[in-house]
């Protein structure tokens, strides 16, 4: 009973948060709505008995990605975005139509009857088991992921630094 209510509440918060994030003109409002969305999703993860993932979700998404987006907004456009221009690209209707089409398409498998096993109580998820899994069968994946993150870090720094800084360094060398 409580699970149902929790689910419905969290689901509505998530959907609304996502919609606000996508629709708002003011980008700061959008980012905050996005963070609420992330939080709702973390709640849903908890409902689904994936505690670690919920934690990671909050840490990474709200903590890192959200802040990053905030900084990006501050560094690019006028944050309030009240210059009267349209917020949608031309032909937004087709975008809406495409999104609806995809939704309908996704519903097709979603509403089908699935042959699921009975018990769900046997899940005893633990961080320990997760750690074992990471180290043993998926260690390569872990290392590759680390490499990816490193590369992303270096790349982001290089791109964000700008062209003049790079040119200056080149001419210094020459």
């Amino acid at each position: 009973m409580t699970q149902e209510i929790t689910f419905w509440v969290l689901a509505i918060i998530a959907v609304c948060g996502a919609l606000v994030a996508v629709v708002r003109r003011n980008l700061i409002h959008g980012v905050f709505a996005l963070m609420i969305f992330f939080a709702a999703l973390a709640g849903l993860f908890l409902l689904l008995l994936a505690e670690f993932i919920a934690a990671v979700q909050i840490l990474v998404y709200i903590g890192a990605v959200g802040i990053l987006l905030l900084f990006a907004i501050m560094l690019t456009e006028r944050v309030t975005g009240d210059d009267g221009r349209s917020i949608t690209a031309r032909g937004w209707f087709w975008g809406l139509a495409a999104a609806v089409a995809v939704f309908v398409f996704l519903l097709l498998p979603a509403i089908q009857e699935a042959d699921l096993p009975e018990s769900t109580q046997s899940i005893q998820p633990s961080v320990k088991a997760l750690g074992h899994k990471l180290m043993d069968p998926y260690v390569v994946t872990l290392e590759v992921l680390a490499l990816l993150l490193t590369a992303a870090l270096i790349g982001a720094v290089a791109v964000a630094q700008g062209a003049e800084v790079n040119k200056k360094e080149d001419s210094d060398d020459a």
Partner: protein, 635 residues
């Protein structure tokens, strides 16, 4: 006698014609022509001597194959037989005398060289005609003779009458020639050969390919050939050119109208006599000749031009020759032809001499008393007249007598017509002689005798005119085909009565009149106007041709109109194709349209590539949906 020497008889004058055509000096040209004719005469006499040894039905032929059409060959050949021999000898001899006479007559003319060129051409054609062994070669030479006569008659081309006369001669004889040509074609179609004597297979021989076995074909062919003779020899109704041809110089009249060209027609009939006999058409020849003889004799009574009287006399005598051929065969007709050649040439040359002496005066009413002033000419002329009227024991007497005898034997009406013609001959000749020779000169200047170069040939011809008859009378029937007719006494009587009675009649009518001043009793209007033959022809045939010309002109206009319409149609069609079809259809619609369509297509295709990122994303989303649906459907 070889082919070459036979051929040279005709080729020597031809060569002379070629040489003299480039010469300017008259006397030298005359010399060339006379020398050539001399050579020709010599060869002809030799041939005559050779031919005289043969019988009437033997022929020696010399053939050269000329044209091969399929399986038939047309030969270029000559024949030597008594007919050829005697005719060639006569033509070359008389021709030679006339050439010599012309040397004197034309000596003051500026175009004398050209005159001798034409004379030689004429002689070449005539001799070729006589010698030919092939109807086609004969026809070709026939045409050469026609052309040469046109050139000679209209020689004094500054005179419009002369030019008109030459044209008339050519055109009228052309009508006859048309018949001749059709006859040749028909004969060739029926017999397959045009060679006359071919060792048994020739046209005139009763061989397998000959036409002598089929009377209908032979009759048609002979009548067509006779048409050519009618034209050339001036028989009724194609006689109208002969009197007009007197516009030419006198030697021309002598040559053409006495001895040679007009004789060509008679010669043709004589040569192709076997065809006439096979077809049974001799009587047509005889009747035509009889009619011509009588009508021409009547017209001669009404003429005042000295040469015109002689011209109509020639027509009349030619008619008698045709009668002779028709009733008696080759010998009788050719006999009269021979004697006529001599005395008519003599008469014409004599007339020329008189005209020359009277300072180019030709009207007999203005002459008179020539006997006193031009003795030699007068004597020669009277000899000729005697022969013409068939005064007893002249050559003319013998030949005309044979004709009358033959006519008596075969057809009495023809006899009486011929007899009447002979009577009239005597009358009009007496009339002419009285006008010319008796009394005193009615002209302006006194006449003078002609130079010896002109009188000598006259004398020679006079001798022949008188003596030839007796000489030839007995030999001619041995050499030429044809039987001598039985001489009934009555025929001889009538002959003599004709001659003497006619002279007496003329004497009675004309002697004592003031000639030239009083009206002529016999020269009544119809006779003076030549029985209006020319006017009649102009009214009918002339008008017919004018109508034909108008019709063809209208037809031409119609064709031009049609052509214009067609051009307009073609132009319209072409512009429709060019403008409508090409420009509109192909250029605008097809080509430009295609280009524009391609451009729009290109534009439409480039539209997605607009760098519009959300657009790209939307397409990706749609693509995913489609792909998913496809997978969904498959599974």
């Amino acid at each position: 006698m070889s082919t070459t020497s036979l051929a040279l008889i005709a080729l020597l004058p031809l060569l002379a014609a070629a040489i003299t055509s480039c010469m300017k000096c008259g006397r030298r040209a005359a010399g060339v022509a006379i020398v050539a004719m001399l050579g020709s005469c010599g060869l002809a006499l030799w041939a005559f001597g050779q031919a005289w040894g043969m019988g009437p039905n033997k022929h020696i032929t010399f053939d050269i194959p000329w044209l091969t059409v399929g399986s038939t060959t047309i030969n270029f050949g000559f024949v030597l037989d008594p007919l050829t021999g005697v005719m060639a000898a006569m033509v070359t001899f008389v021709g030679l005398l006339i050439f010599i006479y012309s040397f004197g007559y034309m000596k003051d003319d500026k175009r004398m060289a050209r005159f001798f060129c034409y004379l030689s051409l004429f002689a070449a054609g005539m001799l070729g005609l006589i010698l030919a062994n092939n109807l086609l070669l004969l026809f070709m030479c026939w045409e050469i003779v026609g052309v040469a006569s046109y050139l000679l008659i209209s020689f004094w081309n500054h005179k419009p009458e002369a030019a008109a006369a030459g044209k008339k001669a050519f055109i009228v004889t052309r009508i006859g020639d048309m018949g001749f040509l059709i006859g040749i074609l028909y004969a060739f179609k029926s017999a397959g050969t045009l060679t006359l004597y071919d060792g048994g297979a020739g046209l005139l021989e009763p061989g397998m390919g000959g036409i002598l076995f089929e009377p209908e074909i032979a009759a048609i062919v002979s009548l067509l050939l006779f048409l050519g003779a009618v034209g050339k020899s001036g028989q009724l109704p194609l006689h109208v050119w002969l009197p007009d041809a007197m516009e030419g110089p006198t030697p021309v009249s002598a040559l053409i109208h006495a001895a040679t060209m007009v004789a060509a027609g008679v010669f043709l009939v004589a040569r192709t006599m076997p065809i006439f006999e096979a077809g049974g058409t001799e009587m047509v020849v005889a009747w035509t000749g009889a009619a011509t003889a009588l009508v021409a004799a009547f017209i001669a009574l009404g003429q005042y031009d000295i040469k015109r009287i002689l011209a109509y006399s020639t027509v009349s005598q030619l008619g008698l020759m045709m009668v002779g051929l028709g009733v008696g065969g080759v010998a009788i007709g050719m006999f009269h032809l021979l004697t006529h050649a001599f005395f008519k040439a003599l008469l014409f040359l004599g007339a020329g001499s008189i005209i020359h002496g009277c300072h180019e005066e030709q009207d007999i009413r203005k002459m008179g008393g020539i006997w006193k002033s031009m003795r030699v000419t007068s004597i020669a002329y009277l000899c000729g007249t005697a022969a013409l009227v068939a005064f007893p024991f002249t050559s003319g007497f013998f030949s005309k007598d044979e004709i009358l005898a033959g006519a008596w034997a075969s057809s009495t009406p023809i006899f009486w017509i011929a007899a009447a013609a002979s009577l009239l001959t005597a009358v009009y000749m007496t009339r002419q002689c009285l006008y010319v020779f008796s009394g005193s000169y009615r002209g302006e200047h006194a006449p003078h005798e002609s130079p010896q170069v002109m009188t000598l040939p006259l004398v020679i011809l006079a001798v022949f005119a008188l003596g030839l008859g007796a000489l030839a009378h007995y030999t001619v029937f041995e050499k030429l085909p044809g039987e001598p007719a039985k001489h009934e006494t009555i025929v001889i009587v009538i002959s003599v009565v004709n001659a003497l009675g006619g002279i007496a009649l003329g004497w009675m009518i004309y002697r004592g009149r003031k000639l030239g001043v009083d009206a002529d009793p016999l020269a009544i209007k119809p006779l003076r106007e030549k029985l209006w033959f020319d006017e009649y022809y102009a009214d009918t045939v002339g008008k017919l041709w004018s109508l034909a010309a108008i019709i063809s002109e209208q037809l031409n206009e119609l064709l031009i109109f049609l052509r214009d319409m067609f051009v307009m149609l073609a132009r319209g069609l072409s512009s429709a194709f060019a403008i409508g079809g090409d420009r509109k259809l192909i250029d605008v619609m097809a080509f430009d349209g295609l280009c524009d369509w391609l451009r729009s297509l290109g534009y439409a295709v480039t539209r997605p590539q607009n760098g519009f990122l959300p657009g790209y994303l939307r397409l990706i989303a749609i693509g995913v949906v489609v792909l998913g649906l496809v997978v969904f459907w498959i599974s």
